[in-house]
Amino acid sequence: MRSTRPLLNLVLGTGLLLSLIVAPATKAQTPKRGGILKVSYGNEIAHLDFHTAPGYEMMWVAMNVGCGLVDIMPDGKFVGDAAEAWQVSSDGLLYTFKLKPNVLFHDGTKVDAAAVKFSIERLMDPATGSGMRTFYESVHSVEALDPSTVQIRLKHPYAFMLHMLAGYRTGLIIYSPTATQKFTLEDRKQGKPGAVVGCGPFKLVEWVKGSHLVMDRFDKYFQPGLPYLDRVIIRVIKDPITEMAAFKAGEVDFIASFSPEHVDTMKAQNPRALMMTGKETTPMLAAMRVTIPKDGKPMSKERVPHPIFNDIRVRKAVGCYGIDRKEIVKIAFKGQATPWVGIIPPGTLDTVDVTSMCPYDQAKAKALLAEAGYGPQKPLTFELMTNTEKSVFNVIATVIKEQMARIGVTANIRLVDKVTWMTAANQDGPWDMYVEDLLSLLTLDSNAFLSTTGASWNHTRHTDTKVDDYYARYAREMDPVRRKAIAREFQEFSADKLYWNAISGSPFYMVAQPWIKGYTYNAEFEVHYDKVWLDK
């Protein structure tokens, strides 16, 4: 009979070892209060009027200095921010929010229903010039029923009201009416002390453009015990090599948006670093121009077909069958992205994989081009605009150029800087195709901002009102099952028409030092430091 002693010893030993490992770990999981979180941003903060400033960097400050009504969690569930509870009427037209009783602005004034009404009305006011105004189109009125109850009345049902409040352009930020009226817009934009008053976990201490932004703990924050950190210092480090060096040297605790091209190097240099990513919510596009102004004047309402890409056969030959998405992902993203065709990327709500509708097929591409009148006698040549914002755009453009050559098409790359690209794209300037990743998309509905016929950011200038109908039907359908069906139909329609030509998802990475605890990754949508603590 074999002795059971070795087994017993093994069990006891393992138990002891586990207890040694687990006990300190459990102890370490108790959040520690204090410390300074050093964050690196790759881009400069434009200005500090949260309702109008462009760029994610500003928004990530806004959601820590400010508060909103609701937040969205990574699983898509909503949690109250300043709102304690909310109700939606059965017809979907009334949203009633009950505010938490202890929410204060940093100047000591109370966050009440009047402040919420003021903030939403400010966003809806054309004079404010907020890009979010289009999403408030469904709002009929906002009423303060009592100091702690605010009611939003809609003109028609809008299934994404909560998504919009939580995460469109990263969500509503409640403004203090007192501070807003006391200070000028310029004061707020410059981040003058007292002018930028929020109700979030951190109060703005100082912003020195080009150098740093400092936020300190707001001791009267409505979440008891939060935030844990004493201070957050945000620095702008544009060069990824320097950013990696700063991270390696421990000068930076948290990189809010890390360049995907350098992920492997970062992992190799810092094996203990926390690399955070998720399903892609930003599409990488090879957008093709559909119409141009008839009179040559940019933004003219009178449109004529784009000489190349208005022809659906050419769009399909080039954008559908002529592009090898897998090869692009392999070369440009080292395989760290998903080849994709749909109007919304893999991580967006109600996404449908319609990639099979566009298999890489050179023969089919050539046949379609021949049908459209292009071939050796009349070779197709177009301009492929790319910009210097991210090096991956240029890699993608180069691969596309090579792929186009395989089907007898010449793509002439035009490299410009970001502002030149934005000017050409937004102002209806001359371009045929561009490579870009535009906006992180929480829902299919949020893409209306970029692709309805009347949208300023409808860069391809397609005029197909069926797209608008799809968006309207989808957004107003309150039944989730029927809504999903519309989403599928719309994405198939979109892949068929290619007004919006996705190549892949565009991966997003955040990097944190191993001592950073308590951070919940939710892509670009929610970047909160209130529960973050330093385990060192």
Partner: protein, 324 residues
């Protein structure tokens, strides 16, 4: 001397007018609309028209320049289109950073160039001379950004953060922010690598130039006379030869300030320094016209004043030079 200085100061006016006008027109000639940067996702035709009106961008370019100039005369350098901040305020925060970088880079350059040139000249065609000349050649050939990355790899990553890879600690007395560290040691740690990256290239150039001047000067009669009088080698070299050989070097040093400010754009970006270089490049990228004007103005003024100081230095180096 006073008349000379006054004349030189008056000459600054047309220089500044010329530079700012050229920059003003060029910025508006290149593609890209600042309103697009300003509005971002809020871009609509209506918002763009309103923003252009608000910032006077709908007016003819010449009129815009006259308005800018009129405000400048009153001490108003304009307001950043993008951030809404007064340009002068931002320039004053960033100027000390770049000035310190430029001065220290020049100090690095001289600290390397003077001994290397003296050794090279006095021991011409020996291994010491060849070494100094070869190192100078390598220094000229290595771009600032490449040297900067090498320094980062060595001192920051390789030596476990011995020198900080980025950021800035202000010199005591130059910090204009509420929350800022200001210490001499902290400042030295932060400026050392950028100053080396920027200064080594200049050192190489100055070494070659000064060596050639020294070779010329040590063969002149007054140096031979000094030696014949029994003066030891040290005062002969340092007092008689070097002082005279420095005149063309000082001229080039003045001209190099322009290159240093240009190089500061690269070095400041690499080391994430909040100086004028990053201010200028950000302004150009965003088409923030007012900031670009501010950058051009302060760069031109710095260049002109440093060259004035250089000209005045001649009288110290060679008392025979007189300005009237």
């Amino acid at each position: 001397m006073r008349v000379y200085i006054l004349k030189r100061l008056l000459q600054i006016i047309p220089t500044i007018l010329g530079i700012t006008f050229v920059v003003f027109v060029m910025m508006r000639s290149i593609p890209g609309d600042p309103v697009v940067s300003l509005l971002g996702d809020a871009y609509t035709e209506e918002n763009a028209i309103k923003a252009r009106q608000d910032y006077g961008l709908d007016k003819p370019v010449l009129l815009q320049y006259v308005i800018w100039l009129g405000k400048l005369v009153q001490g108003d350098w304009g307001t950043s289109i993008l951030s809404g901040r007064p340009v002068l305020k931002d320039v004053l925060v960033r100027l000390p950073v770049t000035l310190e970088l430029v001065v220290l880079s020049m100090a690095v350059a001289l600290a390397i160039a003077i001994p290397a040139a003296i050794i090279g000249a006095l021991r011409q065609n020996t291994w010491a001379d060849y070494t100094a000349t070869s190192v100078a050649m390598v220094g000229v050939s290595v771009p600032e950004f490449f040297l900067g990355v090498l320094l980062l790899l060595l001192f920051s990553i390789g030596m476990g953060g011995f020198l900080p890879s980025s950021g800035w600690v202000y010199l005591p007395g130059t910090c204009q922010t509420v929350v800022c560290a200001a210490s001499l040691w902290g400042n030295t740690q932060h400026v050392l690598m950028p100053a080396l990256a920027l200064g080594v290239g200049r050192a190489a150039l100055l070494t070659r130039l000064l060596r050639a001047s020294m070779l010329e000067v040590i063969r002149t009669e007054y140096v031979t006379t000094a030696r014949a009088k029994g003066l030891s080698e040290r005062p002969v070299v340092l007092k008689h030869a070097l002082k005279n050989a420095l005149i063309p070097t000082v001229t080039v040093m003045g001209l190099q300030v322009g290159f240093l400010i240009g190089g500061a754009i690269v070095v400041e970006t690499l080391f994430a320094m909040p100086g004028l270089g990053t201010f200028g490049i950000d302004a150009i990228i965003a088409r923030d016209y007012q900031q670009v004007q501010g950058f051009a103005l302060v760069t031109a003024l710095t260049f002109v004043f440093i060259n004035l100081i250089v000209d005045l230095t001649y009288t110290f180096l060679d008392p025979r030079i007189r300005y009237s």
